[in-house]
Symmetry: C2
Subunit: 179 residues, 2 copies
């Protein structure tokens, strides 16, 4: 079956720093019209950095959208013209200070395809070299290290509530077990 | 450390059918100001429905935001005043036709806390009773059944690109193995 929705009209509502909002009028398969509210996002990367000792480097930061401090894997938006792997290298260094001798692409996914085009590229970072973090001027970040099993335990107990971190932890476990 | 960002001003940009957009001016820990673009969402549920034969009921639908058909677990937005469990029962029935004799809460997470407050509640649905689907008038859905191992295989190969479906599959596997 082909359920494609043809764009009949596009209305730009907002163009911002990290996202744009537009409303598409679409033609449904039955030829009726409907509206789709769409948040445009440049895409992002997330990195599961694993030390030689098997610890995962996590970042704790305040997320205004949910009014909470969350424990997450390092992540960040793609800059214009940047390849996901470059973004991953840059964000890992900026947020944690670590550089990786081996940054491996794992998978990619949409965070919330019902209303946003945000795509997240997931990487595994090993052979880590410690250095100084260089957070952006509006980023306040605390580094937390956890071994993979403790992280998985937290995921299964519902203590990790960030989707990319849940995916990163579960996929990294699977990936490392089957290597 | 306390990295809380105090709201100094809130500007409403858009109020829509499924989301609102606002810009908060916040005070950072160093007392400087910054802006946060925030997409308000009512929250949603996602359901991993498992038949007696161990098959997962999935839905294939066109997602305008990403201009693709995606294979996903059934899901839907919370209506005003609705408890997540009620939403899960309703959406499972609407999208797939199945009712569940046992709907179990598994966990909850934020899909994209960097810019949205969307929270997703995840349920496992067993003891399924088949019935007629009742999709909303702008929803076109195809039902696909896959056994859990084939679904996990697709996740690990990168063929499932929807975050809630990746999380649902991996957590359901863990949950069923440790039951």
């Amino acid at each position: 079956m082909n359920f494609e929705e043809k764009t009949m009209k596009t209305e730009k509502i907002y163009e911002g720093k990290i996202l744009n909002l537009r409303i598409d009028t679409v033609e449904l398969p039955d030829k009726k019209y409907s509206k789709r509210e769409i948040v445009e996002h440049p895409g992002a990367v997330a990195i599961v950095p694993i030390t030689k000792e098997g610890e995962i480097i996590l970042v704790k930061q305040y997320r205004k959208a949910v009014e909470k401090e969350l424990l997450e894997i390092p992540a960040g938006k793609l800059e214009i013209g940047e390849e996901p792997k470059e973004t991953a290298e840059r964000e890992l260094k900026e947020e944690t200070g670590f550089s990786s001798g081996k940054l491996e692409y794992i998978t990619e996914f949409y965070t919330s395809p019902g209303f946003s085009d945000e795509k997240m590229y997931l990487f595994l970072a090993i052979e880590l070299i410690e250095g100084l973090a260089e957070p952006e001027k509006d980023e306040y970040i605390e580094i937390i290290k956890l071994d993979l099993n403790s992280l998985i335990d937290k995921v299964l107990k519902g203590e990790i509530v960030d989707s990319k971190t849940i995916i990163g932890a579960l996929i990294a476990k699977n990936y490392l077990e089957n290597k």
